[in-house]
Subunit: 390 residues, 2 copies
């Protein structure tokens, strides 16, 4: 079974990320679906797509739950079964996993997976409150802890244990903003300097404004099929060869250590094992940089370096666009934006573009194996997938 | 493939339904898990259960999303992947479907599916508002339409087209309250008379208080495994031999007719087809009686009678506990209660008890084939499953 594709991506679409005033989530989703159809005209949505799995985190933003059939309707998929999944910021990473299961079950030949979030019409206070629902109510929210606070805790623990610096974290922002400036769909398309990043206002020490991803609107979708059917739809399929998902306690306080995410390490182990690959085989990755410290921890959890060496990796330019192991070429959550329900699928979208040579000004040459790392909340959910050019 | 089991139920557990003051959803879920473990001591949760799929409708009730890992933690399943799905009142019907896909994929041998909702600590106004999120925001909620209003619309259309009467609807309540009086886990364990039901106050004409299910707290879970492994865990497995799920527009106004649910008919068609069975093979059923009219429509959508004959079916006692085709022996949503995220799994729990002779004072003798019918919102999601005694 090792290395045998679990499912293949026939097409992918992404809406423009950012502040998308005057649109509902369903309209953003349709924008992504339309791109996927244009990219792969051989797929007849109504005839071919047999199910929809969609990540959508918050019913509160638009006072709208039951998003599965709503989006299936707008995408023209009725009466196909439609499933909304919520796993905080890993919602569409999990939706992608469900799509893989659906294909592997043999019960479906073609399914759509997607993700969407419309957030910016809300005040920052509202958005922060809705996001906080992904942390533990009695043991975290109730005491006023928000996600910047939880990740600040991880950052100080990492600084204390490994000597990671505020400069190293700021360099993640500098790198991802540079990448974002090359991505026409990114929320932020301008570079920032190390000095700007370090001088930005403190949100939760040591995390400053530029250490935090923005609140964004956006949507994405992928069309998955059986590997043996992929060539029927596209000449350039991308195969999903490894996949892992794991869980941890929702409350950070329950965990043994704060400087790595146990669920991410376990999800990575599963993904490498199913793919029959190791970290050194990965040539490009999109990781969950909700905060800059999260990208540094991701390097370590994914085995790109040893624990404690993540800060050095970005400092030495290894994960830069022209480095030996580019990470977050899309701009990441930091610059591309983080419409929470859409992020997992948006990561896979970027890997698809890179592996098929469609990434424009940020294209990395000669990459065949990519990885995505999607984290929910403070790490209670993690999904890792590995992709290979077809 | 027809009639070959898709998955098997090794064990099942259900919390007491009703007003469960002072408990969090996670504690209710643990109550259900503990029963499932007691019922099937051969399952070692931490060793055997490889994934959790859980239905949970509203993050607003407890200000708590990211329910998948939270419940996996409380059930002792970490680091197993955990997925929360939301499909309105069909959330755990869909979770059960995902569990079936997971088993069918061959990637898992044993998974848990569950559902939970904690609602009664909120005011009725809050609960009605949170429930309304499962209807269309711009085209329904915004105009003040709530679920009693939407189902009242279906009721008046059914009365107009087929001559269905308020008495026939009230008889659904009388039947289900009688069944509930025999179920020690039901929210309401007392009978009501036809006169009481008809005289109760109008909620949205023609639906009166006794035509509407209550707001309840509760949780349920099932342990699913591959059919060929079922006997390893229990001498009395229940096989899932048919399964269907379909979607419709979230807004009722978009539909061609109001007197049946297209998604339910399509889900039933798929379930009968995969099972290689027809409506006349079904000996017992749990259907989604969120309102009494919904049970009457369910009879028709499931093919238990012709369109327009549903009212007569209950009037003639055919669906009573001692009738030829007992429906909602548990008391249904009407009397057992409707903790929305738990309902789909709770229906499967009742069928498991009935098929294995464990239903106590409400046991129906000699039943081998059962069916569940779980509806989300006003019918944008529907799941139908068919079960056979192992």
């Amino acid at each position: 079974m090792k290395g045998k594709p679990l499912a293949s991506i026939a097409s992918a679409g992404l809406s423009k990320f950012g502040r998308r005033d005057g649109l509902y989530a369903r309209e953003l989703f349709l924008e992504a679906v339309n791109e996927a159809v244009e990219r792969c005209p051989n797929v007849d949505l109504r005839k071919d797509v047999q199910a929809l799995f969609v990540g959508h985190m918050g019913e509160s933003y638009e006072h709208q739950g039951h998003t599965g059939p709503t989006l299936a309707d707008w995408a023209g998929l009725l009466p196909a079964p439609a499933v909304r999944v919520e796993a905080a910021c890993a919602s569409s990473g999990v939706a992608l996993r469900l799509g893989i299961l659906a294909i592997a079950s043999g019960l479906f030949n073609v399914v759509m997976v997607g993700g969407v979030e419309k957030m910016t019409h809300r005040t920052t206070a509202e958005a922060v409150e809705f996001l906080a629902m992904a942390s533990d109510f009695p043991f975290e929210q109730w005491h006023g802890v928000t996600f910047p606070g939880l990740f600040a805790l991880m950052a100080t623990a990492h600084m204390n244990k490994y000597g990671t610096t505020e400069e190293q974290m700021a360099l993640v922002a500098v790198k991802n903003h540079r990448n974002g400036s090359l991505n026409p769909k990114a929320h932020f398309q301008r570079e920032v300097t190390l000095e700007e990043a370090l001088a930005s206002r403190v949100v939760a020490w040591p995390l400053k404004l530029y250490d935090c991803c923005p609140i964004s609107d956006g949507a994405g979708c992928l069309i998955l099929t059986k590997p043996e059917l992929a060539k029927r739809f596209t000449d350039e399929p991308v195969h999903i060869v490894g996949s892992g998902q794991a869980s941890d306690s929702i409350g950070v306080y329950e965990r043994e250590e704060f400087t790595s995410l146990a669920a991410a390490k376990e999800a990575a182990r599963q993904a490498y094992e199913t793919a029959g690959l190791s970290p050194k085989d990965v040539q490009i990755a999109e990781v969950h940089d909700c905060f800059t410290i999260a990208e540094i921890i991701a390097y370590e959890d994914l085995g790109f370096c040893k624990p404690g060496e993540g800060g050095r990796l970005v400092e030495e330019g290894i994960t830069a666009l022209n480095g030996s192991m580019p990470v977050n070429t899309s701009g990441g959550l930091k610059a591309k934006g983080h419409p929470v329900g859409a992020t997992g699928v948006a990561q896979a979208y970027e890997i698809c573009l890179q592996l098929t040579g469609q990434a424009g000004r940020r294209q990395v040459e000669g990459v065949n194996v990519g990885l995505t790392h999607n984290v929910g909340g403070s790490g209670a959910t993690a999904v890792v997938n590995i992709y290979k050019r077809g």
